[in-house]
Amino acid sequence: MAGKIIADTLEHSTAGSIATNYVVNGSAKAWAEHSSGSPSAIKNSFGISSLTDSGVGYSTLNLQNAMSSIDYSATGTSGTSACAFTTSPSTSYYEYYSYNRTSLANAIDLGNNNSVVHGDLA
């Protein structure tokens, strides 16, 4: 056992202090950079157990630890195009959709897709 500290506040000598609930609540619970198409793969990630190619422009990212509810924040940015999240979230995965920025209907696979999840873990 390496040791455990229970504290409500962390204070730096010059940079101020922060309540530790901001550390827990404010930390990203997952993030990923992934490519879609050929290949559809995780390049680097945290809190992501696997990636499923769900069709052109669609990637399902499975969370390593489940969120406590489906009401969490998922944000993303894609390479030289646009992205959105589809409307069927789950506590254990989210679906990323990349499309040509000139038309929401034009799904495309991209080499660079980025997403971050904030919220409450179960």
Binding site: A2, G3, I5, I6, A7, D8, T9, L10, E11, H12, S13, S17, V23, V24, N25, S27, A28, K29, W31, A32, E33, K43, N44, S45, F46, G47, N65, A66, S68, T75, G76, T77, S78, G79, T80, S81, A82, R101, T102, L110, G111, N112, N114, S115, V116, D120, L121, A122
Partner: protein, 136 residues
């Protein structure tokens, strides 16, 4: 209430690994991995200017709608998550988008953001970016 006065947090078993318990208590996660490694708000109008930032050393105007951002402390690889948004126009339904330049070679310390308005390259009045990944 308890309070810790400290300038540095370092894992005891592994220096870069401090575990925190989840909100619901059912899981634990690595503190370092959840922290944003940099963020920046800047304007692309006229002379590109940083309004506020963390771990961003400088920005460079690379053309209309394009900004190159350089980190103060580098990531461990060129593979990290970059998430951004932009604001432009005066209406609620203006079509503004923010993307990662795919023809720019991302390195462990430099990346480029590309903003558009109505599907064309455009200098955003405000741009926002956050990075997550592994610091070197």
């Amino acid at each position: 209430m308890s309070e810790i006065l400290v300038n540095t947090l370092t894992g005891k078993t592994t220096a870069g690994d401090i575990t925190v318990t989840s909100e619901g208590g059912a899981a634990t996660m690595q503190l370092q991995q959840g922290l944003a490694k940099s963020w920046c708000k800047w304007t692309m109008l006229s002379t590109q200017t940083v309004n506020d930032s963390f771990n961003i050393a400088s920005i460079q105007d690379n053309g209309t709608g394009r900004t190159e951002l350089s980190a103060t402390n580098s990531m461990s690889t060129a593979d990290y998550a970059i998430v951004g948004m932009s604001r432009d126009g005066g209406g609620y339904n203006d079509d503004a988008n923010c993307a990662i330049c795919e023809d720019f070679t991302i390195t462990s310390s430099v990346f480029e953001i590309f903003c558009t308005h109505a599907a064309a390259a455009n200098d955003a009045s405000s741009a926002f970016v956050v990075t997550h990944g592994d610091l070197a």
